[in-house]
Structure formats: C-alpha cells, structure tokens
C-alpha cells in the first residue's frame, strides 16, 4: 500500500467513521453527550483535513498531478459488464476542494459547538453536519460518476434536513421541503446523465471518460451531440444544486436554518457544488459550443438577477445569499467561457469570504445598531450613478422585480406545481367517485380524518 493510498483512505474514512458513530448513537437509546459529540467531530475533521493536506504536499513533492485511490468494486456483475467502482481521484481540482470543505466544515463545527450549545436539536444538527461533511468529501474526491452521485445525494439530504432544523416552525419545514423538491429534480437529471454516460462509454470512471491527461487537460471521448445531451442534463443538475436561474428561489429559503449551517452549506460549500460538477465534467463542455454557451448564459443571467435581488433584500442573510449567488453565477459564466483554474480559485476565495460574512452576520447587526445609536439616526443611503441612466418607471419596475426575486418561484409554481397538483387532485376525486359507486356508499374513512383534531392521545387509547 503506497503513502497516497493510506492517506487517501484516511481522508475518506474519517467522515465515514464520524457518520457511523453519530448515527449509531442517535438511533440508540443511549445518546452521546454534547462534549463527546464535539470531540468526535473535532477529531474526525482534523484527521481528515491533515491527511488531505498531506496528500497535497506529497503531490507537490512528487510532481504527481493525478492520483487515483482504488477501493475495488462495490458491486460487480461480470457477465453484464456492470460494475460500481469505488474509486477516488486526487487531482488539482479535487484536492483544493476537499481541503476547502474540511477547513470550512471544521470552522463551522467549532462555531456551532458554542452557537448551538444546549439547543434541543444539537445531536440532530451534528448528525446532519456529519452527513454533509461525508457528502462533500465523497463529491469532491469522486473518481466515478456513481460515487459523485452518492456524495451529491448525501449533501442534498443533509441540506434539506438542516433547513428544516427548527422543527417547530412551519415556515422552516416548508422551505426544507421546497429545497428537497428542487434537489430531487436536479438529482433525477444527474442520474439520467450518469446512466447515459454508462451506456455510451460502458463505465463511469472520470479519468477514462474524460480522456487521458490530468484535469483540466482531459479531452472527452464523446461526439458533439452526445456531449450536448449529457452536458445539458448535468447542467440541469448543477442549476438545481447551485440555485442557478430558474431555481434561484431556494437559496434565500435555505437561510431559514441555523446560522452555522447557512454559512457553511448554502453560503459557501453546497452552493458551489454545481460549479464544481461543471468543472469536473469540463471536458464534456468543451465538446459542444452550444453547451458552453448555455452554461455561460445561465451563469450571466443568474449573476444579473441575483445582483439585483441582493440590493433590495431587507434582511442580512438573504442579502448575503443573493450576493453569494451573484458570485456563483459569475463562476459558472467563467466555466462557460472556457476558463478552468480561475473558477476554482474564485470558488475557494469566495467560499471562504462568504463563510466569514455569514458567521459575522448576527454580530454585525449589533454593530450597526450601535453605530446608528451613536449618530442618532439611520446611516445615509448610498446611491450609484446608474440611476441617472434609467427612467424612473424602469427603476420602479426593476425594484419590484428584484424585490419579488424576479417571480421565479411564482413562475415555477404556476407552470409546474399547480397544473400537476390540479390534474392529480382531479384523479383523486375520480377515484373517490368510482369507489363510492362500487361500495354503494361512502368508501373513504380517511375523509373523516380532521386536520385539527384536538383529542388528546390519552382519550384515544
């Protein structure tokens, strides 16, 4: 076993052990204490991060730009050439991203230990946090599209649960549900893309699919039409995960969760996953000009709408969320324009800055209040020179559109959700009529189940 394999195994194993330990104690009847949880989190992240940094140092010393770490076949059916390869890839893209993930997760873990001290949901938060960390590590280091999907799903699940962290608030839960729904749609696109790749190439290994040469120099062995089809699906997946237009509405909703999760997940890491995916499959983008143009267009559109929305938000977390989205849009546009290393550097810098801003947000408000109290009034509003170039009516229209977040959620609801629910509700009513007719009477006891039943359990038992 080489040093790379040992270190690579540690990088992946430490969050896995963390999930196993926290998961086992969460489900058991003997929950772990806050202090013990914190120690496990601290140790898990520290060990994983140290190993990841050691891999980077080793790569720099040896000059290796791409180091695969194999864990063998998870599932294989030799007769059908079906295999699920557990392979991790340490290269110029994955190593910086996994170190970034560890640094930010570690920072937030330390912050959350105090921020959520004695919160009733501390253990739940820790479990979701561990799942998220594992998901990020798997996604970052995935050497096959199947492993990437595995991590991708873990990130989605933990994100939805964290947004709904404050269980007693219906709004938080509704937002968690909305985000989960968007994620499921993007995950479906991802899965179809993975299957299509499997069918076309017979396997899902990135280094084989993307041609010889380490990232970003690989050349995809796909035709332009194949690249357009698969790339479009991956773009939809990235749009869902990174809240790009038209899915931007979920990002401010995600701020309903506790500040540490907002900071690390939706402000810094999770929101960049779509861009990371596009970088990982960048050789596919290069095979199709139309696809690259579509990526750039989505990025520019997202950046423009998010920048406008950020300027009119009335709460700091939403404002930061849209500011974050603006940069993500720019990063995606950069990828569409054919840049590779610059977007990666942009992601790392932006994620670090935004984490800091989001963690600072609660105390910043306090500082602003102190400042306003000191000067005896509100801080003066700053206007830009842009206002002189546009008529007043246009400004009002733009303000309203930005305030309503360009009606993206409303459009999705009108075009997709309402017709879908309407048709199915009609089917449900038709089924009721049919069973009532067959039963020669009322067939559904469930109709009598009242939404607000006030009978307490003791009386029912």
């Amino acid at each position: 076993m080489t040093a790379f394999q040992i270190l690579g195994t540690i990088v992946v194993a430490s969050p896995t052990v963390l999930v196993a330990v926290l998961g086992a104690t969460t489900a058991s009847r003997w929950p772990m204490s806050e202090r013990a949880i914190h120690r496990w989190i601290f140790s898990g992240v520290l060990v994983g991060m140290t190993a990841a940094i050691a891999v980077l140092v080793l790569m720099l010393l040896t000059g290796d730009r791409e180091v695969p770490v194999e864990f063998g076949q998870w599932v294989v059916i030799p007769e059908e050439d079906f295999h699920f390869h557990m392979k991790f890839l340490f290269d110029w893209l994955s190593v910086p991203f996994v170190i970034l993930s560890y640094v930010l997760c570690g920072t937030i873990g330390a912050f959350a230990n105090r921020y959520l001290h004695r919160e009733p949901g501390y253990r739940r938060f820790s479990m979701c946090y561990a799942l998220f960390t594992l998901g990020m590590v798997l996604t970052s280091l995935a050497g096959t599209i199947e492993v990437l999907f595995f991590g991708w799903e873990l990130v989605g699940l933990s994100s939805a649960l964290l947004i709904a962290f404050f269980h007693e608030r219906a709004a938080a839960v509704r937002n968690g549900q909305w985000v989960w729904s968007v994620y499921r749609i993007s995950d479906a696109a991802f899965l179809i893309a993975a299957l299509a790749l499997h069918h076309l190439k017979g396997e899902g290994d990135f280094d084989l699919m993307m041609g010889a040469g380490p990232w970003p120099e690989g050349v995809a062995s796909l035709t332009s039409a194949q690249a357009l089809f698969i790339g479009s699906l991956l773009l939809v997946a990235a749009m869902g995960k990174s809240a790009l237009v038209p899915f931007s509405g979920w990002l401010p909703r995600a701020m309903e969760g506790p500040t540490p999760s907002s900071a690390v997940f939706y402000g810094a890491l999770s929101v960049h996953l779509g861009a990371f995916l596009l970088l990982r499959v960048s050789p596919i983008l290069e095979r199709s000009v139309i696809l690259s143009a579509a990526v750039a267009a989505v990025g520019v559109l997202t950046a423009v709408t998010a920048a406008a929305s950020a300027r009119v938000q009335s709460d700091i977390k939403s404002s930061l969320a849209y500011a974050s989205l603006t940069q993500v849009g720019v990063i995606v546009a950069e990828i569409g324009f054919g840049l590779r290393v610059i977007p990666l550097v942009h992601i790392i810098g932006h994620a670090s800055l935004r984490s800091l801003q989001l963690l600072r947000a609660p105390s910043l408000l306090r500082d602003y209040h102190a400042l306003e109290n000191a000067i005896g009034g509100h801080l003066p509003a700053q206007t830009t020179g842009w206002s002189r170039w546009f008529p007043r009516s246009w400004q009002r229209w733009a303000y309203r559109a930005a305030l309503e977040r360009f009606f993206l959620d409303a459009w999705l609801e009108t075009i997709v959700v309402r017709p879908f629910v309407g048709i199915l509700s009609w089917c449900d009513r038709a089924e009721r009529r049919w069973t009532d007719w067959l039963a020669r009477g009322r067939s559904r006891e469930s109709d009598d189940v009242l939404p607000n039943e006030m009978v307490v359990e003791e009386l029912k038992l």
Binding site: F82, H167, W180, L191, L424, L438, V449, P451, E458, L461
Partner: protein, 483 residues
C-alpha cells in the same frame, strides 16, 4: 433434484397454520399476542433454516426431505429455488415484526389467528411453482382480508369487485393454457387473461382501487401483510413470465411504469397517511413489475433486488405509520403534527425506510434501483427514464410525509409516545437489514442476478426461442450463488 436436509418447506407452511389454531383458542388478546409472536418466531427460524440449507446445497432448486406434499400434488407443488429462497424468510420476518409491534392496547382488535393463516398461505404460495397451485393459493390468500372486512362491518364490495374478476381470469386463463398450450390458437387470449389477473392483483392503474380500499377499511397490519409479499409479482413470474411473448411482457412493463409514475404523483396529493402509504407502495411495487417484465438479465435482477428492498423498507415504513396511528389515531397529512420530539427513533426510522424505498445511496434500495433503471433504459432509452421520474416523485412524497408527521409544530401530550421496547427492537432489526443490505450489496445482487438468469433461461428453454441459445452461449454455465 437435490433434497434439503430437513422438510423445511412443509414445516414453514404447517407451523403458522397449526399455530393459528392454537392462537384462536387463546382466552384473551394478550395470550393470543404472545402465542402469535412465538409461532411467528419459530416460523421465521425455519425459513432462515431452509434458506441456509438451500444455499449450502449450491443448486438452483431443491425439494424437501421426504417431500410428502409433492407426492400428492406433483413435483412443483413444494419446491424452493433461487427466486423464492429469500422471499420466504422475508415474509416470515415481516409477519413477526408486525405481530410483535402490535401494542397491547390494540391487541384486542388485531386478528392474530387470521394473520397466521395468511402467513401460512403466503409461504405455501411462495414455495409453489405448479401453475394450478399458484392459482389456488392466490385465491386462498384473498379469503382472510375478506373476512376481516366483514368482521369490521366494512363494505367488501370494492375488494370483491376487483378480486372476483381477478379470480375468474386466473382460473379461465390457466384452464385455457392447460387445454390449448402456450402456443395454441387461444394462447394469446389465455396469456392476456392471466396478464390481466396479475395486473389486477398487483394493483396496476386503473384497477388499483382495491388496494386503497383495503388500506382504508382493514386493519393496517392486515393490509400491510397482504400487499408487502407482492403475490402479484410472484404470480407474474410463475404464471405469465414463462409463456408470454416478449412484446406482451414489455406491454406489462409499460403499464406498470405508468402506474409507478401515476401512484407516485397520487402519493403527493394525499391528505391522509394510510392512503399516502398505499400509493407509495403501489408506485414501488409497480417498479418491481417493470423490472420483472423487462425480461433482460439486468432489468430482471434489478426487479428482484427492488422486490426485496421494497418489501423490507416499505414494511418498516408502514410499521412506523402503524405505530404512530396506534398512538394518535388516523393521521391527516393536511397539517403538521410535530411528533419528532416525542418519538425520535421512530422518526429516524421512518425517514430511513422511506429513503431506502426510493433507492437512496447507502440503503438496501440503491443498487436494485440502479440495476432497474439501467435495465429499463437499456430496453426503452427514453421511457425508461420515467423510472427515474417516479423515484424522484416518491422521494418528494416521502420527505413531505416526514415533515408533516414529525415537524412543523409543537405537539403537546401528557403521556410518553416514545417507541415501546418491542417496537424499538423491530425498528432496529429492520434498520440493520436496510443499512447492511445497502453497505454490502454484492451478495444480494449476485443472488438476484443468478435467479434472473435462471428464470430467463428456463423461459427460453420452455419457448425454445433463438434467444435461449444466445444467452446460454454468452454467459456459459452460471454458478449457483451463496447467500
């Protein structure tokens, strides 16, 4: 054909049937519950014993030692093969956990004796390969729920309106196959009749309303145990799959695919938990049928994997809903209940099993779903993607139900709603199966793949089609698996 070391199959059929008589004689509900748990436990032990014994024989099929029943009813009356070997312990396990997780407060209303009768019939069905035996046992399986509906004073008309034609089609179709053969002039009509019967029994849309009606009017436990072994899918494999032409199988697959998407969508708009569960189950069981009828090794293996994973995960999911219902009564999904703080372990289990049912990575359903989608896309590249759409909708529905039941408000109660020890034990046992099956999937996938190949080869041998030679030459001799 090789013989098992003990008459396991006859034991697993006889024990619950005899046990049902013993339970029926119990003086009170609590005694009946304890006896039912004991009988269920012994039955489970025997099914596990037969599975281990069968796997040690390294063969595709085996008979009981002595084999009294086969001498009377024919060689295929009681036989175990790679398809049915894991289904027997699964059925026995599900019955045991349902019986064990029945709270004392509900024991007086739960039909323990009838449940054991159903278990015996289902185990006999899963041990039977003879077409007429399958037909008769399918019909017999419908009797206990019918009596329960009557005993509870509910109208059995919807149930009968579907099961009546199903029985008629089964008997007529099988009689025509017997008379005319699978290739005779009336064969297409006979196959069509059997297919229609299977579709009704499986609850394919638009003939699925019996299933929602059963969940509405029978006890949750009975409805759960009637649908989770997926007798319709078993009938499809034994009665239709060996004789139906490829095009007919693919037509069933398409219809099942439509049902999977339709039921997934319907699960999203339900306002009551039982109906929601019913549609969720319907969607997933239809995906099993999709896999079975794709008739390619990968698709069929995927269908068989999903069969096991859906059986385990949705039984656990239903069990959690049943535990909730036994504490709060029927649950509306139109509002939030906020039960998480009172029953965290049940909440986690609810989510875990729900995610397993949609093929979430790391759970038992993941690899089966992957194989199934791979198989479906291989046959119908575009339409197969609907499988992914159904899984996505089911995922949204599962999370929707989780949020509605466990979050969104503060639930106030004066008594503890936490899982009782037997429930907790059942939950942990199922969780262990769901997670271990997800983390170490190779064993299960190999076993199901071998079963799939054997089914396809047997079908090809029966029809002597050119594809038989192709599959055999491509794969050579398939080695038996070792579960």
């Amino acid at each position: 054909m090789l013989e098992l070391h003990l008459p396991w199959l006859e034991l697993v059929i006889a024990i619950p049937l005899v046990g049902a008589g013993v339970v029926a004689l119990a003086r009170d509900a609590e005694t009946a519950r304890r006896r039912a748990i004991l009988v269920g436990g012994v039955t489970l032990a025997c099914t596990v014993g037969q599975w281990l014994d069968f796997s040690l024989l390294h063969t595709f099929e085996a008979h009981d030692r002595g084999d009294v029943l086969s001498r009377v009813f024919g060689p295929d009356a009681v036989v175990i093969d790679e398809l049915s070997a894991p289904l027997l312990p699964l059925t026995a396990f599900l019955t045991l956990v349902v019986v064990a997780a029945t709270l004392r407060t509900k024991a007086s209303r739960f039909p323990f004796a009838w449940t054991l009768v159903s278990e015996g019939i289902t185990l006999a069905l899963l041990s039977c390969r003879a077409p007429w035996g399958v037909v008769i046992l399918l019909v017999a399986q419908m009797i206990p729920p019918f009596f329960e509906l009557q005993r509870r004073g509910r109208s059995p008309r919807v149930f009968l309106a579907h099961m009546g034609p199903c029985v008629a089609l089964l008997i007529a179709g099988q009689a025509m196959v017997d008379v005319g053969g699978a290739t005779g002039p009336w064969s297409l009509l006979a196959i069509g009749m059997l297919t229609a019967a299977v579709l009704i029994r499986s609850g394919c849309a638009p003939v699925h309303c019996w299933m929602t009606d059963l969940f509405e009017n029978a006890t949750f436990g009975t409805a759960l145990l009637f649908v989770t072994p997926m007798a319709g899918a078993y009938a499809a494999v034994r009665l239709v799959f060996p004789i139906a032409p490829d095009q007919a199988l693919r037509a069933i697959a398409l219809l099942s695919l439509f049902t999977a998407v339709y039921a997934a969508g319907m699960a999203l708009v339900q306002r009551e938990a039982r109906r929601f569960f019913c549609y969720l189950f319907l969607s997933n069981s239809s995906l099993v049928l999709v896999g079975l009828e794709i008739a390619t090794p990968v698709g069929l293996a995927g269908g068989l994997c999903v069969w096991l994973s859906v059986g385990l995960s949705l039984a656990g999911f239903g069990l959690t809903l049943r535990a909730l219902e036994s504490r709060t009564g029927r649950l509306s999904l139109a509002e939030y209940h906020g039960l998480y703080d009172h029953m965290p372990s049940l909440a986690i289990f609810f989510l875990l099993t729900g995610l397993a049912s949609i093929g979430f990575p790391g759970t038992i359903g993941f690899m089966g779903a992957e194989l199934l989608v791979e198989g479906a896309v291989g046959v119908y590249p575009l339409i197969g993607m609907l499988v992914v759409a159904a899984a996505a909708l089911n995922g949204i529905a599962v999370m929707h139900a989780y949020f509605r039941l466990f979050t969104g408000t503060v639930h106030t109660t004066a008594i503890s709603l936490e899982a009782r020890f037997p429930e907790w034990l059942a939950v942990m046992a199922l969780s262990a199966c769901v997670i271990s099956g997800g983390l170490v999937p190779q064993l299960g996938v190999t076993s199901r793949y071998h079963a799939a190949v054997e089914l396809i080869n047997r079908r090809d041998r029966a029809s002597e089609s050119p594809s038989n030679r192709e599959i055999t030459s491509r794969r050579g001799t398939i080695q038996p698996c070792h579960p």
